[in-house]
Amino acid sequence: MANKNKEIFGQPVWVNNPVVVQILGICSALAVTAQLKPAIVMGLSVTVIVALANVVVSLLRKTIPNRIRIIVQLVVVAALVTIVSEVLKAFAYDVSVQLSVYIGLIITNCILMGRLEAFAMQNGPKESLLDGIGNGLGYAAILIIVAFVRELLGSGTLFGFQVIPQWCYEHGYLNNGMMLMSPMALILVGCIIWVHRAQFKDLQEK
C-alpha cells in the first residue's frame, strides 16, 4: 500500500507530469511565468486547490448524483478558488495584483477538472490528497523552471533581485525581450517536453 501511495504521489511530479505529458494547464503556464515569484505563488495555489478539491470531492463521491457531478465539482472548486484568492489579497497583495485574473481562472484549469473526474471520483480521500499534491507540484515544477529561465534571461533578475552583474550590461549585454513574451514560454515548455520525451522514449509518438 505504501508503495502504491508513493506512486500516486510521485508519478505526476515528473514521469506523468500534467503539463508536459497531458498538456494541461498550458494557458496559465504561459501567462504567469514572466517572473519567478508569481509563478511560485500560482503553483502553490493550484497545489492547495487541487489537493483540497480532490479530498472534498472524494468524500462526496458516493453521494453526488452522476448527472450533475460536473456542477458539484465546479461549486467545490469555485469555493476553494475564492478562499485562496481572498487569502492572497489579505496576505500577499502585490502578488495577487500581479496575478490578477489568473487566480480566479484556476477554476478553468484543466488539471483540476481532470484530476477530479479521473481520480477523486473513484478513489478514497487519502489517495486523492496525495494525487492532488503530486499533480499540483508537477504543475508548479514546470512553472518554476519556465519562470526561472524567463526571468533570468528576460529581465536579468531572480525574485526581483538583479543577478546578472552590471559590468555585463556595460559591455554590451542586453536582456532578451522575447523571453518576456508568451510565445517564448511556449517554446520553453516545448524544450522541457523535448528533454522529457528524450528521457521516456515510450512516450515518443511514432
Partner: protein, 387 residues
C-alpha cells in the same frame, strides 16, 4: 582532377570503422559540395540531373553576391559620409568588408556547426540548406548588430525553425527570416530606431570614431513618423542610403534576380506577384488611405525602400517555404506584397513589413496549396459526374 584523387584516397578514413569516422558527415558534406555525387538510379529509366540541391544553393549564393559586395561598399560609404571624410572607392569598400566579414563568419560557423553536429548525431548526410541561409542572415541585419546577438539568433533559427522540423526541406518558415525576427523581437534596440544603421567606430585603424549619439534613420523609418512625404531620390535605387547590409541597392538585387530567373531557380510567378500585390495595395492606400506620409508614398518609392525588393527576390521565392502549386504561387505572392504594405502603412511601430509578411504567408502556404489542389479535384470530379 588531382583534388578528386586526393579525396578518393582519404575517403576510407572517414567510413564506418575508419579512424576519423567521427567526422564522416563533415567529410561527406565537403565531398558532395565539391563534386556532384555519382549516384545513379537503381530501377526504371531515370536521368539524374547534375543540378542537385547543392548546385542550386551555390547558384543562389552567386546571385546574392552583388547585394553583398554592394552592401559592404555602402557600409563604408555611409560611415565615411557620416564622419565627413572624403575617401575613394577602396578604403570605403575595405572598411565595409571588415565590418561585414565577421558577421558572415559568425553566421556560417554557428549555423554549420549545429548542422554538422545534428547530421553526425542522426547519422544523416549534411544538409546544404544553410549555405544560403547563412549568407542571407548577415545581409538582412544592420551592420552594427553585435556578433553575440547574431550568434544566438542564428542558433535559435537553425534549431527551432529547421532542425526540430526535420532539417533542410522540412522547415515551413524561412530560416533566415526567423533569425531576423528573433533579433527584432528579442533585442529591438539593435535592429530598429535610428541609431543602428551606420557603423560608428573605427575598425583596424580604418575610419573614425563617430561622436556618441550619432543617428541616421532609414528612409522608411522617417516616412513612418514624418508628416510630409519623403521625396524620391535615385540614391534609393542605387542603394546609397542607410539600411540593413544587403537590401539597400535595388540594382544589385536586380542583378541577382536576373540570374535566378535566367537559371530558373526562382519562380517568376512568385516574384512578379509580390511586386504586383505591393503596387496594388499602395495605389489603394494612395487613393483611399489615411492621410499620412507613408500612406501617400508613391508605389515606386515603396518598392525601392526597405527590404521589399530583397524579400521579393530572395525570400519569397524560397522553394521550401513558398506555395508549390502554380496558381498558389500567384496567390502567395500577391498576399505577401499586400500584407507587407499593409503593415508598413498601418503600423508605425513596424516601418518594415516585409519580414512579417513573408513569415505570415509562409504559415499559409500549405493552406493555399491545399485549396488549389482541392478546387482542381472538385472541378474534375464535377466533370466526371456531368457526363
Amino acid at each position: 582532377m588531382s583534388l578528386k584523387n586526393y579525396i578518393d584516397r582519404i575517403k576510407p578514413n572517414f567510413e564506418e570503422g575508419g579512424k576519423l569516422q567521427a567526422f564522416r558527415s563533415v567529410f561527406e558534406g565537403f565531398e558532395t559540395f565539391l563534386f556532384v555525387p555519382n549516384a545513379t538510379s537503381k530501377n526504371g529509366v531515370n536521368i539524374h540531373d547534375a543540378i542537385d540541391s547543392k548546385r542550386i544553393m551555390i547558384m543562389v549564393v552567386i546571385a546574392l553576391c552583388p547585394a553583398l559586395l554592394f552592401g559592404m561598399y555602402n557600409v563604408g560609404y555611409q560611415h565615411f559620409l557620416a564622419a565627413g571624410l572624403e575617401m575613394n572607392f577602396w578604403p570605403m569598400f575595405f572598411y565595409g568588408f571588415l565590418a561585414v566579414l565577421p558577421r558572415l563568419i559568425v553566421s556560417y560557423v554557428v549555423g554549420l556547426t549545429i548542422e554538422f553536429v545534428v547530421a553526425q548525431w542522426k547519422h544523416e548526410e549534411i544538409q546544404e540548406g544553410f549555405l544560403v541561409s547563412g549568407f542571407i542572415i548577415p545581409l538582412i541585419v544592420p551592420a552594427t548588430c553585435p556578433l553575440w546577438i547574431l550568434a544566438i539568433a542564428v542558433a535559435f533559427a537553425v534549431i527551432f525553425a529547421k532542425e526540430i522540423f526535420g532539417g533542410t526541406g522540412m522547415n515551413f518558415l524561412n530560416v533566415a527570416l526567423i533569425a531576423r525576427a528573433f533579433i527584432f523581437f528579442a533585442y529591438p534596440s539593435v535592429i530598429s530606431g535610428d541609431a543602428v544603421w551606420v557603423v560608428d567606430h573605427a575598425i583596424c585603424g580604418l575610419g573614425a570614431n563617430l561622436p556618441d549619439g550619432f543617428t541616421a534613420a532609414t528612409a522608411l523609418g522617417q516616412a513612418a513618423t514624418a508628416t510630409t512625404t519623403v521625396g524620391f531620390d535615385w540614391n534609393m535605387v542605387w542603394g546609397f542610403i542607410p539600411g540593413s547590409v544587403g537590401e539597400t541597392s535595388v540594382v544589385a538585387i536586380a542583378l541577382g534576380a536576373a540570374l535566378l530567373l535566367y537559371t530558373g531557380i526562382a519562380s517568376w510567378k512568385t516574384m512578379l506577384s509580390v511586386f504586383v500585390g505591393g503596387i496594388l495595395t499602395v495605389l489603394l492606400f494612395n487613393n483611399f488611405g489615411p492621410d499620412t506620409a507613408i500612406a501617400n508614398m508613391p508605389w515606386y518609392e515603396h518598392l525601392v525602400l526597405g527590404g521589399f525588393a530583397f524579400g521579393a527576390v530572395f525570400m519569397a521565392t524560397d522553394p521550401v517555404t513558398s506555395a508549390r502549386t502554380e496558381i498558389g504561387k500567384y496567390i502567395y505572392g500577391l498576399l505577401i506584397g499586400a500584407v507587407a504594405i499593409l503593415i508598413r502603412v498601418l503600423n508605425p511601430g513596424y516601418p518594415e513589413g516585409m519580414m512579417l509578411a513573408i513569415l505570415l504567408m509562409n504559415c499559409f502556404a500549405p493552406l493555399i496549396d491545399y485549396c488549389v489542389v482541392q478546387v482542381n479535384v472538385n472541378k474534375r470530379a464535377k466533370r466526371l459526374t456531368n457526363k
